[in-house]
């Protein structure tokens, strides 16, 4: 009951984070990676790393368009450029090794044309919209028998509000990280967001499911409990479960973040933030919103 009673406090906490996210997003936006805007990334590792200036000198004069050089690890550089053809790539490698005088290994080279980038953006939007649509339909279907005192489509809508919260917060964090640490968003970032959507809805459904069951019990046994009491009890009953599931998932992701490969580090960070937000929203936002809506309905009907 504690949660339902103090729901306004929890709402404000979330609202604060969401507003902050929206503000940083509109201020700085997100910086798209080459997945989305096209371009090339070269990662090289030197035995003895030359200075950034030396690398810049080596690269100046090559037809690279705009490029950036950033240190990575103990002895490597990541070089981002416009899309490179295999020939120019060969020229760049020769320049980086100072005509073979400096020994280096090329760890990876990615080059993505603008057409593929544009397509990746479209596909990302498409999958985000489809996932959202499918989730609303699914919840409306799963909760079709629950209509009193809050009709089933409202469960769906509230779940979507909670989802917006869960996705906005990690996106906001990435806007900040993008601004200060040069983090870029790629197709894996979008994937992580969709997983967060799936996970968070999963969590919200468990609580809603308990509300559904307790409502049924309430009618069957003529217990005549208030709606907010029922929701409060449902949250309490599922609380340990929600925390524990999120905990095991968070353990797995935290381990992945710490020990896992570089390639999935941003991915696991997105998941980590998103799932924390998702767990929070399914306990402190989703179900209390049911109560808020029902109270508002009552007031209007009077």
């Amino acid at each position: 009951m504690f949660i339902v009673r103090n729901r306004k406090f929890f709402y404000s906490f979330s609202a604060l984070l969401v507003v902050a996210s929206i503000v940083v997003l509109s201020l700085w936006g997100l910086s798209p990676g080459i997945d989305f805007k096209g371009g090339s990334i070269i990662e090289v590792e030197y035995v003895e790393r030359p200075t950034v200036e030396a690398v810049n000198t080596a690269l100046s004069g090559l037809p690279l368009g705009s490029y950036s050089v950033r240190e990575t690890g103990d002895s490597g550089y990541i070089i981002r450029t416009d899309e490179l053809s295999p020939e120019i790539h060969g020229v760049v490698m020769t320049a980086l090794s100072d005509n073979g005088k400096v020994s280096l290994t090329e760890k990876r080279f990615n080059s993505i044309g603008p057409v593929l980038g544009k397509e990746a953006i479209e596909k990302s939007w498409m999958s985000i919209s489809l996932v959202l649509l499918a989730i609303i339909l699914f919840i409306t279907f799963a909760f079709r028998k629950v209509s009193r005192p809050v009709s089933s489509w409202k469960y769906g809508l509230i779940a979507i509000v909670a989802l917006g919260h869960d996705v906005l917060i990690p996106t906001g964090v990435f806007a900040v990280l993008g601004h200060y640490a040069g983090f870029e968003i790629d197709t894996l970032f979008v994937t992580a967001l969709l997983v967060v959507l799936g996970f968070s809805i999963h969590d919200t459904i468990v609580v809603f499911d308990r509300v559904r069951e307790n409502l049924r019990r309430n009618t069957e046994y003529h217990e005549k409990k208030q709606f907010d009491t029922i929701v409060g009890e449902s949250i309490n009953q599922t609380f340990v479960r929600s925390i524990n599931t999120s905990l095991t998932t968070l353990i797995a992701i935290a381990v992945l973040y710490t020990f896992g490969p570089e390639a999935t580090r941003h991915f696991s960070l997105t998941l980590l933030i998103g799932i924390i937000a998702g767990t929070y929203s399914s306990i402190f936002i989703g179900s209390p919103l049911l109560v808020t809506w029902q109270k508002w309905q009552d007031k209007r009907n009077k």
């Binding site: 790539h89 760890k107 989730i135 994937t191 095991t248 353990i251 490969p261 390639a263």
Partner: protein, 439 residues
């Protein structure tokens, strides 16, 4: 009770054999090896766009098939194990594009790969234009090939076969070519009309040989003698025999991962997976005691089933895919937790253990079904709209994980839990089946 224990035993034996099957991991000779993606094994991934604008809709599929065949033959020269050449339809709605995906495990020299795949040797025969004879040396110097030579209709398209041969006396290599019937007729006509004149042989727009025709040649055989090294002649033979690509292609994207980075990513992924499993397992045992232990066993079964599926399907494992699997380990426990929490509640209400177990499973099922459905929906949509192989790999592993977790959590843990068969009404067995530290 006896029956329950037998079925639990069968389950364990089954799980054991699946686990054994999955364990055998890097054996090359194994009939079902794990398939590693390029980001783990190292190699090159190329995406080409085929220009089909000149073709009528009905012929595109056939042209793409023969394109992929030609590219496959070229790629095989690399001698890498399991190169992949695959046709893919891409593009956005209403704007269909035809693509060719080429994967070369272990190859990191992109330029060489791209040259080999995209090379379209154009062989053509040209005749000296009339009026060239009267040009001064100065004029000849300033003119282009096109000013001097006119195409003679005969091109590499009429080629039947090319092979490397050596001059009997000088031992210099030359390329012997054989025209097809149509080509032989053309060649016969050209040589007949140009006895005593130059018929130049152009390769990729450059003259490589300018022999003077001695007599009419009707056999359809010709020789290309240039200043070839054996290696050059061999390359030319190879290129001529492979023929031109049936469709023009342009490179859209390249991705190369060095072998060391791939191996590092693989090690890190496996290490992370192992630790995720251990820590999640510890948490389960500490918090849920006996049921926790059982869910750890269920998790082992879950892992074994998934690994076996990776081998059987086979799933190409990428770092994102393994991340998806690690994520699913964390999530697979969810169904167990739902059930155990439910069981605990029923115990609190005063139910006896066996009933509480049954009730726990029964009641938790609805929310397990509903909540997993949303993950399944997400995974399926991700899979179909994946814009990169990385995302696709993740979605597939994640989907398999969610599906098999429903099986392992419900069937496996239920069978085992019932087999452990708490008859106990004593405090100890209730403690063992309870959870947390507060009650």
């Amino acid at each position: 009770m006896f029956k329950k224990r037998i079925s639990a035993l069968i389950l364990l034996i089954l799980a054991g054999s699946i686990a054994y099957f999955s364990y055998n991991r890097t054996d090359e000779t194994s009939r079902f090896p794990y398939k590693l993606g390029l980001d783990l094994s190292g190699g090159t991934h190329l995406v080409y766009e085929a220009d089909t604008s000149e073709l009528p809709e009905a012929e595109i599929a056939g042209a793409m098939a023969s394109l992929s065949e030609v590219v496959e033959r070229r790629v095989n020269i690399f001698g890498v194990s399991e190169p992949l050449v695959q046709i893919e339809e891409g593009g956005t709605v209403g704007n269909k594009e035809h693509r060719l995906i080429v994967e070369l495990p272990g190859v990191t020299d992109i330029q060489e790969a791209v040259n080999l795949i995209g090379k379209t040797p154009t062989l053509e025969f040209r005749l000296v234009k009339s009026g060239v004879d009267t040009m001064s040396e100065e004029q000849k110097k300033n003119s282009t090939y096109d000013d001097i030579f006119a195409p003679a209709e005969l091109t590499g398209r009429y080629l039947k076969h090319a092979q490397l041969e050596f001059n009997q006396t000088t031992f210099e290599p030359y390329v012997a070519i054989q025209f097809n019937d149509e080509g032989a007729k053309l060649f016969g006509k050209i040589t007949k009309e140009n006895v005593g004149k130059i018929v130049a042989i152009f390769l990729d727009g450059e003259p490589i040989s300018t022999p003077v025709v001695q007599q009419e040649i009707t056999s359809g055989n010709a020789q290309i003698t240039g200043d070839f090294t054996v290696e050059e002649a061999r390359t030319l033979v190879r290129d001529l025999n492979f023929g031109a690509l049936p469709l023009p292609i342009t490179l859209m994207s390249t991705q190369t991962i060095g072998a060391s980075l791939g191996q590092g990513a693989l090690d890190a992924s496996l290490y992370a997976g192992l630790w995720a499993f251990i820590i999640v397992g510890l948490f389960l045992v500490l918090w849920y005691r006996i049921p926790g232990l059982i869910s750890v066993i269920a998790l082992v079964i879950y892992t074994a089933i998934n690994l076996a599926l990776f081998k059987l399907i086979p799933v190409t494992l990428t770092s994102a895919g393994i991340a998806g699997f690690i994520l699913s380990i964390g999530m697979a426990v969810d169904a167990n937790i739902l059930i155990f929490e439910r069981m605990k509640e029923e115990l609190k209400r005063g139910m006896e253990l066996p009933e509480a177990i049954k009730e726990g499973f029964h009641r938790a099922w609805l929310s397990i079904r509903d909540s997993n459905s949303s993950s399944i929906i997400t995974a399926v949509i991700l899979y179909y709209f994946a814009s990169t192989p990385i995302v696709k790999g993740f979605a597939l592993v994640f989907l398999l994980g969610v599906l098999s977790s429903m099986f392992s959590a419900i069937t496996a843990s239920r069978t085992l839990l019932l087999a452990v068969g708490a008859r106990g009404e004593g405090k100890i067995s209730k403690f063992l089946f309870n959870s947390g530290f507060l009650n």
